[in-house]
């Protein structure tokens, strides 16, 4: 970085003098602890000075917003033209219940939808499967057929609102339902917009919602990328996610490194399998990060993420389109940072985390509700969480200027350090033969297990503090209202599903499932066949069973 000679000399001199003062002061006023570190255990120095960033090259390493390496953001105008999307993840009980919650959130100023499905839907089982016992509608909305999906979308303007769907192994099926719903409502596919999470590698690494083995799972993802590029151009067909990796206990660097390395794996697969040009599809790749409680570390992680991805797209994949180099991402505040004890404090935690996401330049944000450690958010808790974003955007002034922390000795230095450590991991995984090979070895899984255990040990020893959990405990209880999903939601859902099975045309269901089977076997794109199948009212599980039959099932190796 450019500093004048006078400034360098003055800085060195003043820093040496300050160091002497510190030594004197420590004799009478020792530090509260020997070592200061982030929540990821990254060591933090007492002071950062110009020396920490003197090797940086302004044009190459920092640059301007909207310019390579996009450290300062993809958008030339920052948040001035448009705030990030306020996108609250929600889903509960039946399709009708969720539709009602969505309409409430849109009325209150939410600008995008985000769907939480229940576990049977996430895993590709119908509500009446023995595997779904006790789970229907519990952690999200239950969707078995297109009929449920149409209820979910009732009154939602598909050409105007973008919808994110957190769905992974059955992503092709739920996306097919969205496309079919658009078709029925007369909205062309080229006009619908949204995101399917559709990132299977992080499922094997962290979230554990899997169905088929990694290799065919990635094939299905490449099918969606190809189909989206041709017909649904406004759709983000993958949201390459670090969120769950972090929640499983990873450090900030591990979150970043494993996510970016997953992204590399997907790009390689599409280029190889579909013979597509990287610039044709890379602009629609999107990312999803966690914003944890360690404020500066998170800001630096998000800034570093943009710079690393830009370099990868330019240098590794020879992308030419600047939009291919943009790392566009959604952020969610950290569920794992919240505490069940003294739950109102969670509002404060979420606010700090949301602020970090904004200062890190997120394009979209979900803020957790204070009750999310217990259950799905109540309407009131979800509203407070949404208001948190609105206050940050419209009251605090933090969105007025672009990347306001750039140039800070500390911020730039920590951003660089996170980037370096991320490259180390990426290189290591490259040397293993890529992410699928690394997953087969259990490498990312065990790295995360190690970090999670280390943090827990630090917490138990009191080296890391969580207020209300291991310090400032209180016996005073201020109970909060909890949302409970009744067992009858499941019973009613099963009734609806059985009704659909009775009335549909069994022959066309069978034909469309046969077509999916044959596409899987031949290596053809399954998407057009999935859309036909859901229109014929094939159930989610019927389609997923075809995948299981052709590709086999993946089982948790149970590493710890």
């Amino acid at each position: 970085m450019y500093f004048s000679k006078e400034m360098q000399e003055a800085s060195l001199k003043l820093t040496r003098k300050w160091e002497d003062e510190v030594q004197k002061s420590l004799k009478n006023n020792p530090d509260q602890k020997e070592r200061f570190s982030t929540v990821s255990d990254e060591e933090i120095k007492r002071l950062y000075t110009p020396e920490d960033i003197q090797d940086m090259n302004f044009a190459e390493d920092i640059g301007a917003p909207g310019e390579f390496p996009y450290l300062r953001g993809n958008q030339v105008t920052g948040y001035r033209g448009r705030y990030w999307t306020f996108r609250m993840f929600s889903g509960m009980g039946s399709a009708h219940d969720t539709n009602q919650r969505w309409k409430m959130l849109l009325r209150e100023g939410q600008t995008g939808l985000s769907t939480a499905f229940d576990f049977p839907t996430l895993m590709g089982y119908d509500s009446d499967s023995p595997k779904a016992l006790g789970e229907v509608g519990k952690c999200g909305v239950a969707i078995d057929t297109l009929e449920d999906f149409l209820v979910l979308m009732e009154g939602i303007p598909l050409a105007e609102v973008t919808t994110s769907m957190t769905i992974n192994p059955p992503a092709t099926v739920l996306w097919a339902m969205y496309c079919a719903a658009a078709d029925i409502k007369g909205v062309p596919l080229s006009r619908i917009g949204g995101t399917i999470q559709n990132d299977m590698l992080k499922e094997f690494i962290a979230q554990k919602t899997f169905m088929c083995p990694p290799e065919p799972s990635v094939k299905l993802i490449s099918d969606t990328v190809e189909f989206g590029t041709k017909y649904v151009q406004r759709w983000n067909t993958i949201s390459i996610s670090g969120y769950h990796i972090r929640e499983a206990g990873a450090t900030a660097v591990q979150e970043l490194a494993f996510t970016i390395r997953d992204g590399i794996e997907y790009v390689e697969d599409v280029v190889r399998r579909k013979q597509m040009n990287v610039d044709d599809f890379a602009p629609r790749l999107s990312f999803f990060f966690n914003s944890h409680i360690d404020f500066f570390e998170e800001i630096c992680k998000l800034r570093a993420a943009r710079r690393i991805w830009a370099k990868i797209m330019r240098d590794r994949f020879q992308a030419k389109n600047p939009r291919s180099m943009w790392l566009r991402f959604h952020t969610q505040t950290a569920g794992c940072s919240l505490a069940a004890q003294q739950p109102y404090n969670n509002v404060v935690r979420t606010t700090v985390e949301a602020l970090a996401a904004v200062l890190g330049g997120t394009q979209s944000l979900h803020t957790n509700s204070l009750d999310e450690v217990f259950c799905l958010p109540s309407e009131h808790a979800a509203e407070i969480a949404l208001r948190t974003q609105q206050i940050l955007a419209e009251e605090t002034g933090v969105a007025s200027t672009i990347d306001p922390l750039a140039g800070s000795y500390f911020i730039e230095s920590l951003t660089n350090k996170i980037e370096e450590e991320t490259w180390d991991y990426i290189n290591k995984i490259d040397a293993m033969g890529g992410m699928i090979a690394a997953i087969d070895k259990g490498f990312p899984q065990m790295e995360i297990a190690e970090s999670a255990y280390k943090f827990q040990a630090q917490l138990e020893k009191g080296d890391k503090i969580m207020v209300g959990v291991n310090k400032y405990l209180s016996n005073q209880q201020y109970p909060i209202p909890l949302v409970e999903i009744e067992e009858k939601v499941g019973e009613e859902q099963i009734k609806r599903l059985q009704e659909v099975r009775r009335k549909r045309d069994g022959k066309s269901v069978k034909t469309s499932l046969d077509n999916i089977r044959s596409a899987c076997k031949k290596g053809d794109n399954v998407m057009p066949h999935c859309i036909d199948a859901v229109k014929n009212l094939a159930t989610l599980q019927e389609i997923c069973d075809v995948y299981r039959e052709v590709y086999g099932e993946y089982r948790d190796p149970g590493l710890y």
Binding site: E135, K138, C139, Q456, D556
Partner: protein, 133 residues
């Protein structure tokens, strides 16, 4: 004859993949000197009961964060009883609201640990209440 170590199975019933707690506990039990079996995610109650018997464990620790504990935990106890293995103690943890405690205890769950329970307190409970058979 050397004293037999306590054998504990950590199991994840249901479909949720929130295994951070389960995996930390498996490590912690190993460090505490127990013999540990970890099932991995997505186990049915039938699979859990069968492996508990086959692995000849002294206790089963169930972890569930999806809300399905109300149905799944009692089912594991019931299946163990049906197979004559009621001497295997079943304990549970995860996101479990207090109002569910009494039903779970009545169904035969021996202890419940919720967010904030220290690893030490769980290990202590097992050392005090579980005798290797």
């Amino acid at each position: 004859m050397p004293e037999r170590k306590i054998r504990v199975m950590v199991a994840k019933p249901g479909l949720d993949g929130h295994d951070r707690g389960a995996r930390i506990l498996a490590r912690c039990f190993r460090d505490a000197g127990f013999e540990v079996v970890y099932t991995g995610c997505h186990q049915t109650p039938e699979q859990i009961a069968a492996s508990a018997i086959q692995e000849d464990v002294d206790a089963v620790g169930l972890s569930c964060l999806s809300g399905a504990h109300r149905v799944l935990f009692p089912r594991v106890v019931e299946l163990l009883r049906e197979k004559g293995a009621e001497d295997i103690a079943v304990i549970g943890g995860g996101i479990i609201p207090e109002q569910d405690f009494s039903t779970l205890y009545e169904s035969g769950i021996k202890a419940i640990f919720t967010p904030g329970a220290s690893l030490d307190s769980i290990v202590e409970w097992i050392k005090t209440n579980i005798k290797p058979h």
